[in-house]
Subunit: 346 residues, 2 copies
Amino acid sequence: MSDDFETSRSKSVTIMDVARVSGVSYSTVSRVLNGFEFVKDSTRQRVLAAAEQLGYVANLPARSLAGGRSRIIGLLLPRLDNSYISEIIRGVDEVLGESDYDLMLYTTHRQQGKEAVYVRAITNRLAEGLLLLVPMFPSLSLKALPSQDFPHVLIDQSDKTNQSSVVYATNSQGAYDATNYLIGLGHERIGFIRGQMEIQSAVDRLAAYKAALADNGLPFDETLAVDGDFYAKGGYAGATELLALANRPTAIFAANDLSAIGAMDAIRDHGLRIPDDISVIGFDDIPQASLTYPKLTTVRQPLIEMGRIAATNLLEQIEKPGTPPKQVTLATELVIRDSCTDPRRR
Amino acid sequence: MSDDFETSRSKSVTIMDVARVSGVSYSTVSRVLNGFEFVKDSTRQRVLAAAEQLGYVANLPARSLAGGRSRIIGLLLPRLDNSYISEIIRGVDEVLGESDYDLMLYTTHRQQGKEAVYVRAITNRLAEGLLLLVPMFPSLSLKALPSQDFPHVLIDQSDKTNQSSVVYATNSQGAYDATNYLIGLGHERIGFIRGQMEIQSAVDRLAAYKAALADNGLPFDETLAVDGDFYAKGGYAGATELLALANRPTAIFAANDLSAIGAMDAIRDHGLRIPDDISVIGFDDIPQASLTYPKLTTVRQPLIEMGRIAATNLLEQIEKPGTPPKQVTLATELVIRDSCTDPRRR
DNA sequence: GTGAAAGCGCTAACAC
DNA sequence: GTGTTAGCGCTTTCAC
């Protein structure tokens, strides 16, 4: 009974306990635990042994508060409900798994605009670095950093100021390639389902679509570019709008794969075949893209790699203060599968 | 310049600052910030205004250390690389998003066996509660808890001791239903691709497969139950093994959808058609399952719901200490799509 | 090399 | 109702 009480309720072991057992002062224990160099080897061994024996585990809050390293990095993102984000997280996690940093995950949910509050909470002695996947208004988050020097990386964002490390993909080139591919196939009326236009990649992709049209001497028809939201639902609605057009398009370029998947559903619900009646192309190449039927042709964005690079860069900033911000832009790649064909073939 | 310095480098604002500005002691500030009742309304207003004006943000480590609420809950899981896990996380996140708890995500990666260390680190004043998605050796993690009373929930795990809150699905019933369905279709030689047998659900599913066979007077053929790993790779290998059999099965029941997807690839690579030549059924109903071609028939496990229930239960334990552990088992459901058919039809 | 002591920002008795 | 005070467990000068 009393034994039970001891085991379950006894306060956790602190450096004081380790100090007592190993017969040194607790500041020496702290030194050993932090890998401080100037400690006699025999003392070090003794302390380590005592810590091991006692099952010592550092109290992170105490360490953080005292100005030590928390070994926590924060990841701020809007939500978790799509695999575009999951893929990026995986990349981050892979890198963190090899280092010994832990991940604090913050999702802002619908609390849009709350980013600044989160940023301040995370950076307030909690995390040593921050990964920002804030598609909407990155500058708001940036301004909330305690200083421009606070280690941070913006993911899927390009930077106009060169003040922050960023990881981005060639959204413009990718969207240009996709449009060009469709045009090359023989399409002249290409619908475009937009992403959320508050997001930079959505803007870039739409602009590139227009540019490709123009470069090929094709007119930009306002009615062919419809609203979307980067989700299947918006893709469905957008495609439905497009299909209702008197002179409907022979191909649809959805701003991302999720929209494309929604669009495919809408097309099927209208009794049309893909790609025979209408071609569909997406963007991102999320894992689902290769499983759809027909398999979705899309523009691959190296999501895992983006997460990995962002994390690697962040750790570098943390380990080597003063490392200048780095802007990385990764290449996208057109992945041709089965959802597009020559419109004249039908 | 000096202004810049001020904004970016100045120490973060603490309750001391708020106290000074609002002209009260800092313990009063603490009271107001913690929603303590016995504070004069006018003081409360003054403090709140000062906090707002100064842009005060709580220092979490300090609060935790002082014994206050960290409002962090930990989620310990093996890895992030499949949507089974992503779905559960989404459920957790949904609930947390409505409360004001934040999520600390720990992935043990390959560091198998390290769970205990993580558990102790997380529970050591850092998090107020812990969600455990530790398929392998749950008891190891459980033993590392500071006490049995520490708020925690085991996800996708059933509990023999009734000491912990758990959320599980009816794996046995689900696997039984799947096997029965195949038998009802007319299959007599049904291959089974196992999951990792250190995991309880893998064991449950295999046992139920055997039970269904027996209940239908069908023999259990050892060579028909092959190794798998709950991933596409293992599913591919398992199916390949099955297809090489002299008297190969007419249907394959894969222990989860990822394995089933791998199996489908193997089947196609062997030049066979699904479901005409061979039927395939999975387990989980991850988002990809409805996108495969043909669409995968599977046993649906309510993953998001499991995450949601686990989080809800955890918060309840935190808010109302003394709440007894709760064992929740959710129903699985056979989702019939297009990957299975009558073997005599071919 | 190692110990002593201050303090990180906050909560929670305890006074008044 | 509100102020005073003692820690929470740790890092980090500063002595010796």
